[in-house]
């Protein structure tokens, strides 16, 4: 059945593309407007609000942040090769339909008809209440929260990445750097406890100095490429940038909870990787950290709009809904801004919904491993927020990976137990106030120790060339003194 005429806004910086789209949409019988840039129309007052935006990838990239200014119309993207590869990611940004470039009249007509026959997708933050793990009391549609998230997205798009390193972790890092007995393995062990630090090192390894080389994802591969001296420099810079100003006071407990959940999940992902014979379990560890890197950014945003922290440090209600609904997308955006490979972004975006990915491809298998780890950790009771659901079902995730469900559950329980056991022993060794002040970092260290007990330490020591190891040790006391 033919849909009623809808006001279509055509956007493309290229005059010829616009002309072609105007003809195709016009012949489809829809009234239309056209602009070279989305922001131009959004900023004009008194203009009619379009029902549908038809744009090319260039216009979308430059102006997607203005979508809300149009009241979230439906978006049809004329997709080039790159856009087709990023389809999942674009869908999350709000694109509802795709037509291949160059598009024919008939094709555009059919895609538009199909789009208009579907129910409109709710705006992204409003969707949070229905997202996995969302609590019934979630108020994801609060305009203040929506505006804050939109602002965060705009900042990320501009490359202004939020700093959300855990403060105590920065202190711990300095402690390792200042310890003459610390090895390169200790350094990497400390760095890998914090997604922001890992991301900074990996970003450096994929940066302009290493242009033309294959992208790396894992911390160890990145460390091998840049050398231990650079790891120290980058990690310290990142820790200082965010660590000592970002998270303070009551919110620390929220951050700590998220970090615990993230790091435990990453450890479980690494162990699953070993179990299923994945070729790079360490990369899985890093990928799991990256997948949740948006959580702290969202909490930071939430705190920034003046919301009170949960008394017990457990995100719930509105914040839980925000985290459940948005963290994967924000993680993916942050990774994009960091220049991470598209596969890493896709993993972040899909790590709670791996069903769209085949377990037979390397990317799909990695996604299922992350999903299984996350799901098993939640099922074992280590939740990042109240009401977080174990999705996908751990039994399905285990079966997909060829694991026994009981084995997966045991794995998660072991890692959580090791974490908690170390936390308890660390608390006993420290005076009460010290234990509270550094609790987060000590927790993480405990988990690392557990890993070391399995012989991971030896592996870590072996992954950096000896000359790099030698560089670290004499340099540390000086660096610590300088700081």
């Amino acid at each position: 059945m033919t849909a009623a005429p809808q006001l279509v806004l055509i956007a493309s910086p290229h005059g010829t593309v616009r002309e072609r789209l105007v003809e195709a949409v016009g012949r489809a019988g829809h009234p239309l407007m056209q602009v070279p840039k989305l922001e131009e129309q959004a900023q004009r007052r008194g203009c009619r609000t379009p029902d549908v935006i038809v744009c090319d990838a260039a216009a979308w990239r430059a102006g997607r942040e203005f979508l809300a200014d149009y009241g979230h119309p439906r978006v049809l993207l004329i997709a080039d090769d790159a856009s087709r590869r990023r389809r999942v990611y674009l869908e999350d940004e709000g694109v509802e339909a795709f037509a291949d470039d160059p598009v024919s009249d008939l094709e555009l007509y059919c895609v538009l008809e199909e789009l208009l026959s579907r129910e409109p997708r709710p705006a992204r933050v409003e969707q949070a209440g229905d997202a996995p793990g969302a609590n019934d009391s979630g108020q994801g549609g609060d305009p203040k929260v929506v505006a804050a998230v939109r602002d965060l997205e705009a900042r990320i798009a501009r490359g202004d990445l939020p700093s959300c390193t855990l403060a105590p972790n920065g202190v711990e890092l300095e402690g390792v750097l200042g310890d003459p007995a610390a090895s390169a393995a200790d350094l990497l062990g400390k760095v890998e406890q914090d997604p922001s630090l890992v991301a900074a090192v990996v970003r450096e390894a994929n940066g302009p100095l290493h242009r033309g080389r294959a992208k790396v994802v894992g911390l160890r591969a990145a460390a091998r490429r840049v050398g231990a001296r650079k790891v120290v420099e980058v990690a310290r810079k990142e820790a200082l940038r965010g660590g000592f100003g970002a998270s303070t006071s009551d919110w620390d407990r929220v951050f700590a909870r998220l970090w615990q959940s993230t790091v435990v999940t990453a450890q479980v992902a690494r162990r699953i990787g070993v179990l299923v014979g994945h070729r790079d379990p360490d990369a899985l560890y890093s990928l799991a950290l990256f997948a949740d890197i948006g959580q702290a950014a969202l909490v930071d945003v939430y705190r920034g709009i003046g919301r009170a922290p949960p008394e017990d440090g457990i995100p719930r209600g509105e914040l839980a809904a925000l985290l459940a609904g948005e963290h994967a997308a924000v993680s993916a955006r942050m990774l994009e801004a960091m220049g991470m490979p598209s596969s890493t972004r896709a993993l972040a975006l899909q790590h709670h919904q791996p069903g769209d990915m085949s377990c037979r491809t390397p990317l799909g298998r990695a996604c299922w491993i992350l999903a299984a780890a996350s799901s098993a950790v939640v099922a074992a009771g280590c939740t990042a927020w109240e009401g977080q659901r174990a999705e996908p079902d751990p039994r399905i995730a285990a079966a997909t990976l060829g694991l026994e469900a009981e084995r997966l559950a045991e794995l998660a329980e072991d890692v959580i137990e090791e974490w908690e056991g170390t936390e308890a022993s660390t608390s006993q060794e420290l005076p009460a106030e010290d234990a509270e002040a550094t609790g987060d970092a000590e927790d993480a260290e405990g988990a690392e120790d557990a890993e070391d007990a399995e012989g991971a330490d030896e592996e870590e020591a072996a992954v950096i060339p000896p000359e790099d190891v030698e560089e670290v040790e004499p340099e540390d006391p000086e660096a610590a003194a300088a700081s």
Binding site: T2, A3, P5, A28, G29
Partner: protein, 116 residues
Amino acid sequence: MLLVTDDRGLATLATSPVSGFRVEVVPAEELIETPSAQPPALVLLDVEQAEEFSSFQLARTLATSQPEVPVVGLVEAGDMEEALALVRLGARDVLTKPVRPIELRRTIARFVGGLS
């Protein structure tokens, strides 16, 4: 019967011997803004209108608001793309301009009947 055009030359079609029918001539833009209260027996829709693409918009509007009204498009000979676009939007047939009276009578007879 409605002849939707803003072309004066084509409007002379209204004086063609289509006995038994009252033919009104209106531009597409006007019909979009003010739809006729009484559904016409047939709409002859000239694709070329002063307001670009308004004929297609009218075809879509009629297809959704008055789907029972047959629409016959009038296009320049050889303009396949516009003819196809009209058919996609529900036009029952397309005639090429200049329209021959005999062809017009046959078409009207086919969709409305009653003409000999």
